[in-house]
Subunit: 397 residues, 2 copies
C-alpha cells in the first residue's frame, strides 16, 4: 500500500511503476515514473542527472542491477510514509504534464509472431498458397522498420500517399492510401546492448531487455501489397509507428508470465524454450475505434516470445544497442473479435465492421481515433496498466 | 594545384576533399579531411568544436551552406601557399591514424536499384517467375537494414551462423553460412533531416544529402533465401554492413553526374526525373578478392538514382534524419565481369570463378579478403577516389 491514496483500480499502483519522459511548463524533458494519477519527477527526486537527459536510454544502459535498485528505492519511498516529505514535492498531476517519446529508438524490428494474424494475412495476400510460409513455424519472422518515425502516442496520423495498384490495373496510381490500418502490438525495449559477433541466448533475455510498451504500427495496406515483394514492407509501414509513453519494467510483469502455446515442430536449440523460464506474457489488449471497443487481442497466445525474437535477431552475430525496439507484430487471437488489425476485422474490406453508431468501417476514415490499451496481472493481485497508444487520422496533405 | 606536392594520381586531390573521423595516439576521435597521403585535422585547424564530436553528424546537420563554405575555405587553404604555416602543423600522415565509422547511422535503407542485379537474383531465387517483380520498374524497391551493425571498413567479417534449409530437406538446420557473399554498393549520407509528413521532392536532393561512401553489404545467401518470404531479408544481411571511412561530398562529384538509363515505363510524377538535373553518377567500382580484380561494376547504369530513392522514401510522409544512410543495392552491369556479388559471379555457385592462383571460388571462404574501391571523374580533369571498403572473413565462432 502506498501513502498516496491511489485511485481504485488505477492500473498504476505500486506494483507497476513504469518509466516515461515528461515535460511541464518549463519545457525541460526529464524522466518520470507513473504512480496513480501522478508522475514522480525522478530527476528532482533522486538528484541523478541520468534522469534529466530527456530519454530513458542512459538509465537503461546501466543495466538490471541499477534497474532493480531504483525500483526497490521507489517502492520504499512510496510505501513508507516517512519518505512522504521528501517525495511529495516532486509529484505532479499526470494530466498537467506533456509526455514524450520515452526512448531514443536505435533499431526497430517488427515481428510477425501471432499465428492467427500470419494465417489471416496469408489467406488474404497469398490466397493460392498455404497461409503460413514454410519458415513460419521454424523461426520468428521479422524485418527492420523505420526507427526515425517511431513517435509517442498522440502524434497525428497523417494519411500517407503512395503508389498502389488495383487488381484490374496494369500500372500503379498515386494517391492517399485507401486502406489505412492499425496493428496492435506489444514492444520490448532493449536496455543493455551486446557485442558484435556474440549471440544473446534465450536465458539472457532479462539481462538485456528493460521493459514493455504498447505499439500501434500504422499500416497502409494498399501501398504495402504493391511494394512488399520481394524485399518486404517499406512505405506501407514507415510513415508512423506510435508507442505508449510508459515503459513497464519486466519486473512488474512477473505475475503475467505464462508458457507460450505448444510448438508444432521441434525448434532448433537456440530457439527451444521448452526447458527455459517462459516469456509468454498474459497481456490483454483492447482496441477502441472512436470510443467503441472493437477488439480484444490476447497476447498470451503469441507463438513466438520476445526472448525467442531476441535470440533469433542476434544468432547471426548482430549486436544490440540500448534503445532497440522489438515489436511483436500484430496480436490476433482465433476469434473474430480478437483480431488486432482492421484488415482482419473486415476481412480485407469484404466484411465491414458494424459499429454501435450505425455506421460501418472497413479501413480507417479521416477523423477516426484509435486507442490501444492493455493490462496484465500485477504482483499485488490486481491488474497493472500498460497505458495507451492513441492516434487520430488526419486527411492526406 | 596544392602547395602540398600531391602524389601523382592520388585520387585525393584538391577536387575531392572527403570527410572522415580519425584518431591518433591520443585516442581522441575528430573529423579529418583526406588530402593526398595526409589527413587534415579539422578540429585543430578550424578550432570549431563541431569537428571534435567523433562523428560527422553535427557538421552535416548544419546544411549545404555550411558544407560549401568549409569546402571553399579548405580549397583556399590548400591552394594558396600563404596558408601553409597555418595548415601544415595539422596535417598527419594518413597511414599513421586510425579511421572510424564517419557517421552515426540513423536509419539505413538498402535499395535494389540495378536492373541487372535484380534480374540475376530473380532468375536464381524465383526461377518460375519473371525475373523482375511487377513493381520493379515503377518504384525503387528498398527495405530497412540494421543501422547498428553498419561498421567502418576493416571490421572483421565473422562468418554468421543461422538457419538454412537445403532444397532436399524438410526442416532447416543450424550452422555457419555456406554461402557468404558481398554486395558492392554506393551509399548516400543524409545531412539535413526533414519533417514528418513532408515529402522531399527530387529537386531537393542536394538540400538534404551530403555525400557518398562505398558500402559492402555482406550477405549470407543461404540464411537469406530461407527467411526472406514474406517480410524480406533480415539475418541474412544484418550481421555486418561495411562502409568506407571517407564520405565524398556531392560537390566533388559534379563532373560525375550523368543521365540515368532510359526508363521503360512512364514514371509517376514524384519519381519522374526526365526534366530534372540527373543524379546518375559515373562511379567505377572495382572488386578485389585476395588482391585479384574479379569485377568492375558500373554505377552509371543504375536504373534508380539516389534522388529517386530519397523522393520515394519520403513520399509517404516519412521523415529523414541526419545520418540516414541510403545504399544503392548491389551494383551489377550487363557483363559477367561487372557483377557486384559472388552469387552472380558464380551464378548461384553453379559456375565457380577461376582465380589467378589456380583455385576457384563460389562463395567466400574463411581468410578471404575482399576490397571494394571506386573512382569517379573529378572536377580537375582526373579521377577522384571514393577510398575503399575492406573486410577479411573469419571463421564462425
Amino acid at each position: 500500500m502506498s501513502w498516496l491514496g491511489l485511485p481504485e483500480g488505477t492500473g498504476f499502483g505500486i506494483d507497476n511503476l513504469p518509466y516515461g519522459v515528461f515535460s511541464d511548463a518549463s519545457g525541460r524533458r526529464r524522466t518520470g515514473v507513473a504512480i496513480g494519477d501522478a508522475v514522480l519527477d525522478l530527476a528532482a527526486a533522486t538528484g541523478d542527472d541520468v534522469h534529466a537527459t530527456g530519454s530513458l536510454n542512459a538509465f537503461l544502459a546501466r543495466g538490471p542491477r541499477a534497474w532493480a535498485d531504483l525500483r526497490d528505492q521507489l517502492t520504499g519511498w512510496l510505501t513508507d510514509e516517512t519518505h512522504r516529505g521528501r517525495v511529495e514535492p516532486h509529484l505532479l498531476p499526470r494530466d498537467a504534464v506533456t509526455l514524450h517519446l520515452p526512448v531514443e529508438i536505435a533499431d526497430y524490428v517488427d515481428f510477425y509472431s501471432s499465428r492467427h494474424h500470419a494465417e489471416n494475412l496469408g489467406r488474404m495476400f497469398r490466397p493460392d498458397s498455404p497461409p503460413l510460409t514454410p519458415n513460419w513455424e521454424h523461426l520468428p519472422i521479422g524485418y527492420h522498420g523505420r526507427a526515425g518515425t517511431v513517435q509517442v502516442s498522440g502524434t497525428p496520423v497523417v494519411r500517407p500517399s503512395g503508389q498502389r495498384r488495383a487488381p484490374a490495373d496494369d500500372a500503379p496510381t498515386f494517391g492517399p492510401s485507401q486502406r489505412l490500418d492499425i496493428e496492435a502490438e506489444v514492444g520490448f525495449v532493449v536496455g543493455v546492448g551486446s557485442e558484435l559477433g556474440r549471440p544473446v541466448p534465450l536465458a539472457a533475455f532479462a539481462d538485456h531487455v528493460f521493459g514493455v510498451c504498447l505499439v500501434n504500427d500504422w499500416s497502409a495496406r494498399d501501398i504495402q501489397s504493391w511494394e512488399y515483394v520481394p524485399l518486404g514492407p517499406f512505405l506501407g509501414k514507415s510513415f508512423l509507428t506510435s508507442v505508449s509513453p510508459w515503459v513497464v519494467p519486466l519486473a512488474a510483469l512477473e505475475a503475467a508470465r505464462v508458457a507460450p502455446p505448444a510448438r508444432d515442430v521441434p525448434l532448433l536449440p537456440y530457439l527451444d524454450d521448452a526447458g527455459a523460464d517462459p516469456w509468454g506474457l498474459d497481456i490483454a489488449i483492447e482496441v477502441r475505434l472512436n470510443g467503441e471497443l472493437v477488439s480484444c487481442p490476447p497476447f498470451d497466445l503469441m507463438y513466438w516470445t520476445a526472448a525467442q525474437q531476441l535470440a533469433h535477431t542476434t544468432v547471426n552475430g548482430a549486436s544490440l544497442r540500448t534503445g532497440d525496439l522489438f515489436a511483436s507484430g500484430t496480436v490476433s487471437g482465433p476469434a473474430a473479435d480478437q483480431r488486432g488489425s482492421f484488415i482482419e476485422l473486415s476481412w480485407g474490406g469484404a466484411e465491414p465492421l458494424a459499429l454501435a453508431d450505425g455506421t460501418t468501417r472497413t479501413f480507417l476514415e479521416d477523423g477516426d481515433v484509435v486507442i490501444l490499451t492493455a493490462t496484465a496481472p500485477g504482483t499485488a493481485g490486481g491488474r497493472i496498466s500498460l497505458g495507451e497508444v492513441t492516434g487520430r487520422v488526419l486527411p492526406a496533405r
